[in-house]
């Protein structure tokens, strides 16, 4: 299993430099506040920080105590307080409350706010409004790229998705441009650039501006990475909404991989303690199974375990010297491997992956074997429904399934996801009466949902509609007067540059047509062999080729958007292609086979696996840059309004 890379696959650039850069800058910033200080860290920054600098490094630079930024008064007694936060207004208020409390108590301390990855004017303004602008010093920690794996860089900005695609807030685009600029200064210019989507276009434009301003720096550098592909999440919601069945994606769906590592609770570790496991290419076993369809994984692991046992057994026939060697060199590694392996088997057995719908995942230990079998069926039915939606048949049955799903009160997030999938896949080419049927269904489902999960989700629906994920009415009615005016403004040539997330309002998903055009649903003749996949569809059990990945494949094949005009029109996105002629001839053939894919708004592990597969097939290697790793649940949560 675990397809080896082709012998001619290009080497990946060394991204650990990014970590070193971030660490050095952080240390520099900490040193700017000499002496002992307490560090307040925003919860969202804790895991990324952990990957950059551990506690002992922080202690070395005179960080005394660590606190979490939360809505509680601080107990710190230090004379110097340092805050490491994302540029959010909420955080500013928190800091202001601390400082003002100190002022009331007649206490003077030094305060320093480090914004990561950058500060925003609005934050400074809030500090000013709260009357503490003069009391704190502000700095920026330009830490925007965290290498989670050898081929995966994450900006760890999950809010990018909601901010941009829902609220139309473009502030993070500049951060993206800065990150791309950093990459091109470190790893040379990118001779070929493609992209699709408004955000991709804006990011590219800003990035180019940055390059031009600092021309000369990258001049004459040999490109290390030949292609860059920028992609907006909103041009393919479908892929992100599907249940993941590739091992790594499945682990993410069930346990939530956080910043490249996952916490396995007692039910998986079969001990009292939960265990934190780092998931990346350095873990050899994991590396072999991460991209596999889950149905293959269990067999593979059993085989692996047998092999390990055999290796253990080798000890017997050895003389003392060999034994010594074996113990000192191999045993340690073997033991480690064995431990992780048994853990993985537990994941599979305990959870019976096939089986438990992620919904009930919280409660694995209590899962009785009968229940397991039952849920096994559930998961298959769920997958079946998803596939039916993707292929566009048995809509009535699917909607019934969704309704029942709600009635069973399984999980609001899961139900929402299915509703969105229904909405997107069914939008477009369907005859009128059919559409109204769908609308009716959806409305009924929505009402069900509201009655089941509370009226605050009315806002959730409004959000989903705005983001183009769930449109429960006929298109004509969806747009209020203002919204249509806005969308007109957007399409207006003069305002062409004024890009706006509202455009998604006017957006039809056209999924069915695109699917046909790009052949996303492979023809089924016989059983799809998941062990030896023949195309990227394997990441969805052979039922669907991820749209995002297909587009990338097509563009790379053509080296342009030529012939894809119809698809682009259907996607209702503007595409972009940019070739830097001056850099082109300098690029080695090896670098030309390295492709950086930038997902604006997040990418899923399924997409990563699919592209890794494509890379192996075509002799490319893909590098992924995402604003955050996402999955269907995260997307839905980002859109949800929950009572605070």
């Amino acid at each position: 299993m675990a397809f080896p890379h082709r012998p001619d696959a290009p080497e990946l650039p060394d991204f650990s430099m990014l970590k070193r850069l971030a660490r050095d800058q952080l240390i520099y910033l900490l040193e700017q506040l000499p002496g002992k200080k307490d560090l307040f860290i925003e919860a969202d920054l804790m895991s990324p920080l952990d990957r950059i600098a551990n506690v002992s490094i922080l202690k070395q630079h005179e960080v005394d105590k660590l606190y979490k930024v939360e809505n509680k008064p601080a107990l710190s007694s230090s004379e110097q307080l340092c805050f490491l936060v994302r540029p959010r207004i909420k955080n500013m208020r928190y800091i202001a409350s601390l400082v003002n409390a100190d002022k009331l108590a007649g206490r003077t301390r030094k305060y320093k706010v480090i914004f990561s990855p950058q500060k925003f004017y609005a934050c400074e303004m809030v500090l000013e409004e709260e009357g503490i602008y003069g009391d704190v010093s502000c700095d920026e920690w330009a830490f925007s790229l965290l290498p989670l794996d050898v081929d995966l860089l994450s900006m760890e900005l999950p809010e990018f998705f909601r901010d941009y695609f829902l609220e139309g807030d473009q502030r993070w685009i500049n951060t993206v441009a800065q990150a791309l600029h950093l990459l091109s200064t470190l790893y040379g210019p990118f001779p070929y650039c493609y992209g699709i989507g408004r955000c991709a276009k804006m990011s590219h434009e800003l990035w180019r501006n940055l390059e031009e301003e600092e021309d000369g720096e990258t001049k004459g550098r040999r490109p290390e990475i030949g292609h860059i592909f920028l992609l907006d999440r909103d041009m393919d919601f479908v892929t992100a909404l599907c249940s993941q069945v590739v091992y790594e994606g499945l682990v993410d769906d069930t346990f939530r991989i956080k910043c490249g590592s996952v916490d396995f609770g007692p039910e998986v570790t079969s001990s009292d303690k939960s265990l934190k496991v780092l998931l990346n290419a350095e873990d050899k076993v994991f590396n072999e199974i991460r991209n596999e369809h889950f149905s293959n994984v269990f067999g593979f692991l059993s085989q692996k375990a047998r092999n390990l046992q055999a290796q253990y057994d080798r000890r017997r026939g050895m003389d003392i010297k060999q034994m010594k060697n074996f113990v000192s060199q191999e045993l340690k590694g073997l033991k480690q491997e064995h431990r992780l392996l048994s853990l993985r088997r537990f994941q599979l057995e305990g959870r019976d992956y096939v089986s438990s719908p992620s919904i009930l995942s919280a409660d694995i230990g209590a899962c009785e074997s009968i229940m397991k079998k039952k849920t096994k069926q559930d998961f298959q039915e769920l997958i079946k429904t998803e596939h039916a939606l993707l292929e566009g048949f048995n809509i009535r049955e699917s909607t019934n399934y969704i309704e029942e799903h709600i009635d069973r009160q399984v999980s609001p997030i899961e139900s929402l996801r299915l509703m969105c999938l229904l909405s997107i896949t069914e939008n477009g080419l369907i005859p009128k009466d059919y559409r109204s049927l769908k609308t009716q269904y959806l409305q009924r489902a929505s009402l069900h949902f509201l009655q089941s999960y509370g009226p605050e989700h009315l806002l959730t629906f409004s959000n989903l509609r705005r983001a183009g994920l769930l449109t429960e009415q006929a298109p004509g009615d969806t747009l209020t007067a203002v919204e249509s005016k806005v969308s007109k403004l957007v399409t207006d040539k003069a305002a062409g540059k004024i890009t706006d997330a509202f455009s998604s309002l006017a957006k039809r998903s056209n999924f069915r047509a695109i699917s046909k055009k790009l052949n996303l649903i492979p023809r089924v003749d016989g059983e799809y062999d998941l062990k030896v996949p023949r195309d990227m569809a394997y990441v969805f059990s052979g039922a669907y080729v991820p749209l995002s990945c297909r587009i990338i494949e097509q563009v790379l094949e053509r080296r342009s958007w030529q012939g894809l005009d119809e698809v682009v029109r259907l996607l209702n996105c503007s595409e972009l292609a940019f070739t830097d002629m001056t850099k082109e001839d300098k690029a080695s053939s090896e670098s030309l086979r390295l492709i950086l894919v930038v997902f604006l708004g997040g990418c899923t592990f399924s997409e990563i696996s699919a592209l890794r597969f494509l890379g192996r097939e075509k002799g490319y290697r893909f590098i992924f840059l995402t604003t955050a790793v996402t999955n269907s649940a995260r997307l839905m949560e980002a859109m949800s309004e929950v009572k605070a």
């Binding site: 501006n209 203002v482 009572k643």
Partner: protein, 835 residues
């Protein structure tokens, strides 16, 4: 012309230009100021001296060093005491009232500043402009015999120097010194000398001063502030260090008349010391030698001395000359009968050109001494110090000739010298009139020279030089073009369109040119329209914003900020707009800028909720308005009445937005809230804020079946869901009896499989089996398997002849107990296949 005397070898003098500036008046009748480094000359016919015809307005004239007129203007301000040039080549005119007027090279008025009240009251008696490493300073002697000075006119800080005790009359002479980065004043009163620093006045004496001095008539400090010379009433000249600690030499010239000017003539790091002293009709060079050089100078009368880094410029009405100490290299080569390697090389080259074999002899001689490298270097260096191109050429030719016989002579020094000389010759040209020497040029640097060319509006020459020296565009050509453009926008007689077009044609997309800077200049000249046109060419939209804001084009600034993609910039403009416009206009502006609107909304969501509401209202965005009130109904309002009211507003908004679904849902919620309130009152417990589903569930769990049914009817909960709900709730209560009753109340709309499932979930196999029998045929197998009745499941599957069901059962057959069942299925399968 070479000047030598018995022991003094001061230097040589050559003519820079013959002046044809047609002066109406004698130089001595004018206030004269000439800037060093070959700078311009300013003349102000001085009518105030003669104390007559004050009614005649004097003329201020500015010439280049070659006598080309640069500016001429009538002097309309008050009487001027002193003129001087700053290091930036700005003309400082010190008026009697202590006001200093600053003019540009072309007579354009720049600014003015005052030297303070004390100066204004006591009038200015005398003033000097001096240069320090910080910039140019002004020192003033007032009518009250006090000194006020500012060390840097660019950053004006006035300093009043301490009083000299017992000073009754003006000092006979004074000068500014600069030591340890601080400016001092040295003044002479009778036989006494005083040094003023900012704290104290101290009397000083000159070491080794000849006796009999009753007064000092003139003093001169060298260009670098190292040396000082004093001229006494006995015709004696003392020369020493500026620290007054050491005498270097002295000279007695026996002329007792006070000299008009006295200036040091020395080059940096040279051991020779010489001072040039000028009287009305006499010019004398004195130094460390018993004899002086009397200038055989027909035109010695009415001349003016300009101290330079490495010599003295002397100009009169007819000529402009440069007097300097001969540089070592030149002296070595040109000394009569010199045997220095450079001299021999020069000879060798000359002979070579004559095709004489002597060339070889000379060359051999140098080579035998192993001095060829030195010879080449000497020739190159000497070439730099020559003024005339012919001389430069012959020296360079010699150097190049010598180079041929050297294996490894690095070419840079030769190449650089050729380039430098070309630049120097170009700027020394009569039309340009900047007579820089090589040393001055090196001290000044090419950047400053380019600035000076720009200042003289000699843009083409500056650009040619940049291109010739291959300077990076940002430092060179683009910078000059930008300056040119800034000058161009001041041409008021040309239309905005033409200026903008001309600028864009020349500048194009040259890197490093900031159109916004040029536009700022245009705006500074009051040409707002032109500024806007120029900003259009600025490729970085972010750069356009600050100026647009300044010009009050806030709306344009907003769209530019949006274009730049910099949200911080957008935000800045937004706040600007918010203060500038009234609320309505502000909202209208936002309405047309969706990006800014979303940004502002985001901010309001966190900071100004009321504004957010107003924004939606303004836009008639009923949908969002509805959402806003929904949020308020649970986030902001506490009382139930308030919440219902908020929901009512929301529902109205949704109706206006034609979102009937949302409106209906909201109304339902209002109904539910009221009902929940009633339930709480009647039954106690917590109902508020439960969803409808949870409300019904809670009622069932509390045994309120009637009410639950009522509620379900009221809210038209579909049957299916109600069944699911009841089923779950009853199973949770483990009220198996009620569950059975319920199951029999009518035919289940959801079938009976869920009953089996839910019983198994509660581990009640007994109850589960009851329902398994009632499950419809399609799901029968599943149900039987759930309750663990594999055998019966197998029977049903076989009966159905359903392949999928059979394999499902088969997969549940484990261990020995089910062996028989498995066989049975296998047999049935085989049979089915046979058919």
């Amino acid at each position: 012309m070479r000047l030598t005397s018995a022991r003094l070898c001061v230097g040589r003098k050559y003519e820079l230009y013959s002046m044809d500036w047609d002066l109406q008046e004698e130089l001595r009748d004018c206030l004269v100021a000439a800037a060093s480094y070959g700078g311009p000359i300013a003349l102000l016919r001085n009518p105030w001296k003669k104390e007559k015809a004050a009614s005649i307005r004097p003329v201020l004239e500015i010439y280049s060093a070659s006598g080309m007129p640069l500016a001429s203007m009538l002097w309309k301000s008050g009487p001027v005491v002193s003129l001087g040039w700053s290091a930036e080549e700005e003309l400082l005119c010190v008026q009697e009232d202590g006001v200093v007027l600053v003019y540009g090279l072309h007579g354009d008025f720049r600014r003015h500043f005052s030297m303070g009240n004390e100066v204004l009251q006591n009038r200015v008696l005398d003033a000097r402009i001096f240069h320090t490493e910080f910039g140019s300073g002004v020192a003033i002697l007032t009518g009250a015999h006090r000194f006020t000075l500012s060390a840097n006119v660019g950053d004006l800080k006035l300093r009043r120097m301490p009083e000299v005790p017992g000073l009754q009359s003006a000092p006979s002479c004074w000068t500014t010194l600069c030591q340890d980065r601080v400016a001092h004043v040295l003044l002479a009163v009778g036989p006494d000398l005083y040094l003023l620093d900012h704290a104290a006045c101290s009397a000083v004496t000159l070491p080794g001063l000849a006796p009999g001095v009753s007064s000092f008539l003139q003093m001169a400090v060298s260009f670098t502030y190292r040396h000082l010379a004093l001229f006494t009433d006995t015709g004696y000249i003392w020369m020493g260090t500026a620290s007054l600690k050491e005498k270097l030499c002295e000279f007695n010239c026996n002329i007792r008349a006070p000299p008009k000017q006295m200036v040091w003539c020395s080059r940096p790091r040279s051991k020779e010391r010489a001072v040039v002293v000028a009287w009305e009709r006499r010019l004398m060079v004195v130094g460390d030698a018993p004899e002086s050089i009397q200038y055989p100078w027909r035109a010695a009368k009415d001349s003016y001395l300009v101290p330079e880094l490495d010599g003295v410029r002397i100009f009169s009405r007819s000529t402009h000359e440069f007097l300097h100490e001969v540089p070592v290299a030149s002296e070595e080569i040109f000394k009569i009968a010199s045997m220095a390697p450079g001299a021999l090389l020069l000879e060798a080259q000359k002979e070579y050109e004559k095709e004489s074999q002597k060339a070889d002899e000379y060359l051999r001689e140098i080579q035998e001494l192993g001095q060829l490298t030195q010879a080449v270097q000497q020739c190159i260096e000497a070439a730099g110090h020559e003024h005339w191109p012919d001389m430069q050429k012959s020296l360079l030719r010699a150097a190049s000739f010598g180079k041929c016989f050297l294996d490894r002579f690095p070419p840079d020094s030769f190449v650089r010298m050729c380039q430098d000389l070309r630049v120097l010759n170009a700027v020394r040209d009569y039309h340009i009139g900047i007579p820089l020497t090589y040393s001055q040029y090196k001290q000044l640097t090419i950047q400053v020279l380019l600035d000076r060319l720009v200042l003289r509006r000699l843009y083409p020459l500056a650009i040619q030089i940049c291109e010739y020296l291959r300077l990076p565009e940002v430092q060179g050509v683009s910078r000059i073009l930008a300056h040119w453009a800034c000058y161009k926008v001041q041409q008021k007689d040309v239309s905005d369109e033409d200026v903008a077009r001309a600028i864009n044609q020349k500048l194009g997309d040259t890197p490093g040119v900031s159109y916004s800077d040029i536009a700022a200049r245009a705006y500074g000249c009051g040409r707002t329209e032109l500024a806007i046109k120029l900003l259009e060419y600025e490729p970085r939209s972010g750069e356009q914003v600050p100026l647009l804001l300044k010009m009050k084009r806030s709306k344009l600034a907003l769209s530019k900020a949006i274009e730049s993609g910099d949200t911080d910039l957008v935000f800045t403009v937004l706040l600007h707009l918010k203060n500038e416009l009234n609320r309505g206009d502000f909202f209208m502006t936002l309405r047309n800028q969706p990006m800014a609107l979303s940004l502002y909304r985001q901010f309001c969501k966190h900071q100004e909720l009321e504004t957010l509401k107003d924004l939606y209202n303004q836009d008639d965005n009923h949908q969002e308005l509805g959402s806003f009130h929904i949020r308020a109904s649970y986030a902001a309002e506490e009382r139930i009445e308030g919440r219902v009211a908020a929901l009512q507003t929301a529902a109205d908004a949704f109706y206006k937005a034609k979102n009937e679904f949302a409106a209906k849902a909201t109304e339902d919620q209002m109904r539910l809230l009221r009902l929940q309130r009633r339930l709480e009152d009647e039954l106690g417990g917590q109902f508020l804020d439960l969803s409808l589903h949870d409300t019904v569930t809670t009622l069932i769990l509390g045994g309120q079946n009637k009410r639950a049914e009522q509620l379900a009817r009221d809210f038209r909960i579909p049957d299916k869901r109600l069944w699911w709900l009841k089923l779950t709730a009853l199973a949770h209560l483990e009220d198996w009896e009620e569950l059975e009753k319920f199951s029999k109340s009518k035919k289940s709309p959801i079938g009976y499989l869920p009953f089996v499932e839910i019983c198994m979930k509660q581990h009640n196999k007994y109850e589960a089996k009851k329902y398994a029998s009632r499950v419809g045929p399609e799901q029968k197998v599943k149900a039987l398997l759930l309750v663990g009745d594999v055998a019966q499941a197998a029977d049903v599957a076989i009966e159905h002849r359903n392949e999928a069901e059979m394999s499902l059962v088969l997969s549940h057959c484990t261990g020995a107990t089910d062996g028989a069942t498995a066989d049975k299925i296998q047999r049935a399968r085989a049979q089915a296949q046979k058919k």
